[in-house]
Amino acid sequence: MIKKHTYPFLILLVLASSFTLIQEKKVDEVKLITSKATFIAGDEIRLTFSSTYKSIPNLYFSNSYGSSVSLPTKKENLLTYDLTNDLNNKSGHVNWKLIFDKEKSIKGSFFIKPHAEISEIESYLGPNTIQAGEKDFAMMVLLLHDEYGNPPPDSTNAIFKSQFLDDISTAKVSSSNLICYKNFYTKNKAGRVLVTSESATTFSKEYTIDILPNVPANFTIEAKRDHSFADGNQLTEFSTSIIRDEFDNVVSDGTYVNFFIRNKNDDILKTSGVTIRGVAVGSIIHPDHPEQWKVKAYIPGMAESNEVNLEYKRAIKEFQLMFDKESSTLEVQGLMSFMNQFIPDGQRVELVLRKDKILINEFQETTRNGQAAFSLHDQLLSKGTYTFEVSVSGLTKKIHHINL
């Protein structure tokens, strides 16, 4: 009887003691219950842990921009950390560490994907002026964003459109490294290219690329003058042909053209002009003595013109010299131009005064009404033979005067 009860009792005892043994061995445990490892921006983000610890641990977490610490709401053995507000819908990798104390912690991570829909396009275009031709290009870079400002994952498509004259072209580009970009190559023709972009149902604003003419090619010039006399009064006008680049685009208005004039003595005269609709005009006054000019135009460092030769004939045929002894005045008279008109006022008259073949002095006067006069009474003081040599417009005459 006793034996009969002893065995079950013993078994019970063993079972009971093993049960308490198990209970004693049991240690505190903490486990992540949330199984989701990927969230989408805009989702509620909650991490739930089951914990048998009495203490309430801080959850450290860190996303792309910063890190913080969060406390849970506790329900029985469940700790729930709500990170929705703190993470502020920013995409990227988030790592966390549940901190019990300095030694005891568990860690993990999850990923927040950007929202699938593109709702904003930020576009950058540069440079916005390029040269006509083949090599140059402008680049458009797009930053696509979802409604929370997150860049989309790689391989998100964007469409670039550009219009030039009658041609509208479209190109599809996939994003990589957080951006989409496309190069818009220049055309042979100068003008404007309008560029725009879109992704899904979002559109960017319109951008303009100005294609400016390339560097000027060589050109020709011609000279225009009213007559070929060297009267020192009229203008000679140089004008260029319509200056174009190698692709036949008229160069930009305001292109600076220098006209270089080389005369008989190899001196250089210069005039200049800027282009309007491809043509530059420069003027210069006629010489006042017979000349031969060689004219050539340059756009410095870029282009040059042909050479044009111009000859200027003497305008004055004859003049007379008269010396008035009473007033010691030398008068130059009869300065007539090519049609026997008075030569224009202001023509230069030069006098070289010699005494007994020795140079004493030189004088200059200008004409008025076809005449000029030199007053010499304070020059002719001593006795001797004086020579007056007068030249006008390259024509020279001499007279002698004996002073007693």
Binding site: N58, N85, G92, L143
Partner: protein
């Protein structure tokens, strides 16, 4: 009698007059001094952000060719400079929960995210002290007009300390990879997007590569030239004197010296080439005399703050990489007696700093041992997995030394142990009569050498010379402490060996 009284009263009056005046002048003086204190005027200009070298993590650019325009060196340097400043201002902002400077380096839409975190952390009374130690950027894209750049910064090594309610709750390393879009705005490269693509948290950096001393028995001495104690590499650096001293050390049957590299004196982050040259001269001399050298870094440094780390590491990298192949080097001593700063700078800050610096050394030099010159033997177990040589200083009861050593020996098993400093001042003058004498010093060293010989302990005594002057930064201003410190040498101020010289080694 009356006269005498009068004179006494007169004297008293004059005395009080003088005393009152003295007080008055002192009072006016302190008011004046008080009015002259306060913020430095230069701080009004925010110049601190402009200075070049307050944030210098290692930057290794990959050579990959980017997809956009070919970048020139100068533009890349400008991007690097502004990118690092963006990190720096972010660290400061999160440390103080103050957005100062963020606007300069983050675009309008990016800075909002940082402001959000600052606000959250301020509300929760959380602050994050962090620094990055290494960046490995690749330029992925540079736009044709030079206004936009994309970087991938991989394996950014970041150390973080998390505080809540001003209490450190955790510290760890994070290794992350970021993609960054930068825009050139108003002459600043500003971060437009910052996207973390990967992170791994590590509690500490693991590097357990151990360097053995290979049966080398250290018999050494701590060395300063006699004329320039605590300033070996100053203006009066003289190779002739050092060569002579090394001869003395060699003849005394010693084989190792311990020298000190002062952090500020060497130029902090921008180590002066002239100092490196002097250190090289010293090491070359040591090698020619067949002496090994333990170089103690960061002498007179005591900040340890996380934002100082990158500068510390740059300092250390310049010195260690210059001499990692030098035959004379025996070991790098990270810092002299850092445990003395446990109280003033907090143990955790000092330990984290030591850890980072050991990593810094081991990353460059995997041939030479690393040690820390602990002031107290009970601290010598700290970081024992990371150092190759356990070094402690002993100025306590000499009769206990053997037990202390044997205990450590038992605890540390095979690890080499170095008694890095010990000594006895022979000073027994005005400030501390009967404290020490040359004879007592002799007896001390005789006793120590016996223990050392018996147990084959690596040792380095303090120090070769008596000094005429001890800088007040070393032991403070108190004359009795300074006098004591002057007389630890085996050779007196006149260059004559003291009796203890006989027991400089065994």
């Amino acid at each position: 009698m009356i006269n005498l009284n009068k004179n006494i009263i007169r004297g008293l009056l004059i005395l009080t007059f003088i005393v009152i005046n003295a007080f008055l002048i002192f009072g006016i003086g302190s008011v004046f001094e008080y009015l002259n204190t306060g913020a430095d005027r230069s701080s009004m200009l925010h110049l601190e952000l402009q200075s070049a070298s307050n944030y210098t993590p290692s930057m290794s650019w990959s050579n990959e060719i980017n997809k956009g325009r070919v970048i020139d060196k100068q533009s890349l340097q400008t991007i690097e400079k502004d990118y690092l400043k963006a990190w720096y201002v972010k660290h400061i902002a999160y440390k103080n929960n103050n957005p100062l400077g963020i606007e300069d380096y983050y675009t309008e839409s990016a800075r909002k995210n940082i402001f959000n975190f600052i606000e959250t952390n301020e509300n929760k009374n959380v602050s994050i002290e962090a620094t990055t130690l290494a960046h490995n950027p690749t330029l992925e894209f540079f736009s044709e007009d030079g206004q936009l750049a994309v970087l991938t910064d991989s394996d950014v090594s970041e150390y973080k300390k998390v505080y809540k309610n001003d209490e450190l709750i955790n510290e760890f390393y994070e290794t992350s990879t970021y993609k960054i879009v930068l825009l050139l705005e108003d002459g600043f490269w500003r971060i437009r997007h910052l996207l973390k693509t990967e992170t791994v948290i590590e509690d500490t950096i693991q590097n357990t590569n151990q360097i053995a001393l290979n049966e080398y028995q250290i018999k050494g001495i701590n060395y300063y030239p006699q004329a320039t104690p605590w300033n070996t590499f100053g203006e009066e650096f003289d190779p002739l004197i050092i060569a002579k001293d090394f001869d003395i050390i060699k003849k005394a049957k010693l084989n190792t010296i311990r020298i000190f590299v002062q952090y500020n004196d060497f130029g902090k982050g921008e180590v002066e080439p002239e100092k490196i040259e002097k250190l090289k001269v010293l090491l070359d001399l040591a090698q020619s005399k067949e002496l090994k050298v333990i170089v103690t870094l960061f002498d007179f440094y005591g900040d340890y703050s996380v934002l100082d780390w990158t500068i510390n590491l740059k300092h250390l990298e310049t010195i260690v990489s210059s001499f990692k192949d030098h035959e004379a080097i025996l070991a790098w001593d990270v810092k002299n007696e850092p445990d003395l700063d446990f109280e003033s700078r907090s143990k955790s800050a000092v330990m984290a700093w030591l850890n980072a610096m050991i990593e810094g050394i081991k990353k460059i030099d995997n041939k030479h041992a690393v040690t820390i010159g602990w002031a107290k033997h009970k601290n010598a177990y700290l970081l024992k997995e990371k150092t190759d040589l356990i070094s402690f200083h002993y100025y306590e009861d000499i009769d206990a030394l053997e037990d202390v050593y044997l205990n450590m020996r038992k605890e540390l098993v095979d690890k080499p142990i170095l008694l890095g400093e010990f000594g006895y001042s022979s000073y027994g003058g005005f400030w501390k009569p009967f404290a020490g004498s040359k004879n007592k010093q002799l007896k001390f060293h005789k006793k120590v050498q016996n223990i050392l010989k018996k147990n084959k302990i690596h040792f380095m005594s303090w120090t070769l010379y008596d000094y005429k002057n001890v800088p007040k930064d070393v032991v403070g201003n108190l004359p009795w402490r300074r006098s004591l410190q002057k007389k630890f040498g085996f050779v007196d101020v006149n260059g004559k060996p003291k009796p203890s010289f006989e027991y400089i080694s065994y």
